[in-house]
């Protein structure tokens, strides 16, 4: 590969962070001075006349960066679609992190706010936007206040030529979906919208809109400085770079860890200090994810393609280690009840199908096998996917289906009217109080 024109002096292997494969997280709040001392001023060409930056876009394409918010879509391709769209592009930075099992975006915004804001500037320059909406969850007041101070400081120092607006949205599970962000920014509910058109075609004020997760933006800030070749030095050839993973459950050091993409799930657990107990399964991706049996899962590389072969995906980078003495069916029932209560209540499958699946699953978990429960639950689970405006029912269906297969032996015991021994054990997943949002709580 030829040296890309954007490649600047990059941190070498003598840099302790780089040597350890840590690029985003510093473990403490990095202020603007320290940030600039470490990375320098963002080398952004700026025409001031709008229009995208082909050089930046092709650098991002070469880097192989994929979105870290859940969909793992190639970021460069998304940028190109927005830059090629008709109108004045807009950038939306998604820092909502509505996935209850994830802490990575909050940790990143705490640790490296200026990497995220640099990335927002890179994204804006790449697609030719001059406004970035940084979307944050409304209850996280301190986070918004800190980010506002960072934005002001950059303005005072003349670092940014873009207009960054902090937006505080209602905090519901589906409110971070990209069409929900756009709908709210356009004055509507923070609920997913019917598509097409997708935001990249017609988003904020009808303009082509790039919605990118804040971690994706932080990677952009480094790609713009050090080039795509540097970015690819870490990770897997098909899934380059690092990723922020929230590893919880039965591990010694639960929390957010930066891990090179393509490491095995077992090695991901080792990064979090290793398992504290024999494991039965891993929940990969989050509440919107899949259960995998612990044994076979440990050797699987954490990439979209490898996880897809097992019917899973990286999602928002969540890995939960379930110990053998926990009941996966009970955990799943609690997640499903949370997902059912936190849908947008817009489409048939989420108004009726998902609550019915959650009720059936609860009956199974509690060992109350009503007549035909098993067959009914299976058919209701199969009818959820592809039938909503967003993928909320698809995610719930996948979670439920993988639970039935991974915890099949437990399910048979529960179906005889006796929950497994683990059912009475303590819950592993920390699930927030399910509160069904009222009609006026989406604005």
């Amino acid at each position: 590969m030829t040296v890309h024109p954007l490649s600047g002096p990059a941190p070498g292997y003598d840099d302790p962070y780089e040597a350890a494969g840590i690029r985003l997280l510093t473990g403490r709040r990095t202020g603007l001075d320290e940030h600039l001392a470490r990375h320098g001023v963002l080398p952004l060409p700026w025409s001031g006349r709008g229009g995208g930056d082909e050089r930046l876009i092709s650098a991002v394409e070469l880097s192989g960066l994929t979105g870290r918010g859940g969909a793992a879509f190639p970021t460069g391709r998304k940028m190109r679609a927005v830059a090629d769209g008709k109108g004045f592009p807009v950038v939306v930075a998604n820092g909502m992190e509505s996935e209850p099992a994830s802490r990575k975006d909050a940790t990143l915004l705490d640790d490296a706010p200026h990497l995220v804001l640099d990335g927002a500037a890179v994204a804006a320059a790449a697609v030719g936007a001059n406004t970035v909406h940084l979307c944050l969850a409304r209850p996280r007041l301190l986070q918004a206040e800190r980010m506002r101070r960072c934005v002001d400081e950059r303005l005072r120092r003349g670092l940014d030529r873009i207009n960054v607006r902090i937006q505080q949205l209602p905090h519901h599970y589906v409110s971070s979906e990209e069409s929900a962000l756009v709908r709210w920014l356009n004055g509507g509910d923070a609920r997913p919208a019917a598509t097409p058109p997708r935001p990249f075609e017609k988003g904020v004020r009808g303009q082509p809109t790039l919605v990118a997760n804040v971690e994706t933006l932080a990677h952009l800030a480094l790609i713009a400085r050090y080039g795509p070749g540097w970015f690819r030095r870490v990770g897997h050839p098909d899934a380059p770079g690092t990723a922020l993973l929230t590893v919880t459950g039965a591990v010694r050091r639960p929390g957010v860890h930066e891990v090179p993409m393509g490491r095995s799930l077992g090695s991901v657990l080792e990064t979090a200090g290793g398992a504290t107990a024999p494991l039965s399964a891993l929940l990969v991706g989050g509440f919107f994810g899949s259960w995998l049996p612990a044994g076979p899962a440990l050797s699987v590389p954490f990439t979209r393609a490898d996880l897809a072969q097992l019917g899973a995906g990286p999602g928002a980078g969540v890995v939960v280690a379930l110990p053998k003495d926990a009941c996966g069916l009970a955990e799943t029932a609690r997640i499903l009840n949370h997902l059912a209560a936190n849908s947008a209540q817009q489409c048939g499958p989420c108004r009726f199908g998902l609550p019915a699946v959650a009720r059936d699953f609860t009956a199974l978990a509690e060992g109350r096998p009503e007549k035909d429960l098993w067959a009914r639950l299976r058919s209701r689970i199969e009818l959820l996917p592809g039938r909503g405006a967003c993928r909320h029912p698809d995610g719930a269906s996948r979670l439920a289906a993988t639970a039935l297969s991974v915890f099949a032996a437990d399910a048979h015991i529960h179906m005889t009217g006796h929950p497994c021994d683990a059912f009475h054990g303590s819950a592993v997943l920390n699930i927030p109080q399910a509160h069904v949002p009222g009609p006026d709580e989406w604005r």
């Binding site: 019917a194 489409c347 048939g348 009726f352 592809g386 039938r387």
Partner: protein, 76 residues
């Protein structure tokens, strides 16, 4: 290649009236709450007239017939 039409549903607008399944049972069934299930959204040529009638009958205009090539997506 013949151009075939695709059934599309605005899932947010759909209220589960179920008229579409009455008029186009070959392609549309209903779940237990009356919401449409469309295993295959491609409309064969011989059913196109029925499909148009189903589209016209939807009281909330949630059903559409697209002849475009947005790609065959699983209709559910």
């Amino acid at each position: 290649m013949t151009i075939s039409s695709l059934l599309r549903i605005d899932r947010i607008a759909c209220d589960g009236h179920g008229l579409c399944a009455d008029l186009l049972p070959e392609l549309i069934t209903l779940d237990e709450w009356g919401y449409p299930v469309i295993p295959l959204s491609v409309v064969p040529h011989e059913l196109e007239r029925h499909a148009r009638r189903a589209v016209a009958a939807c009281p909330v205009l949630a059903l559409r017939l697209d002849s475009t090539a947005h790609g065959v997506r699983r209709g559910g």
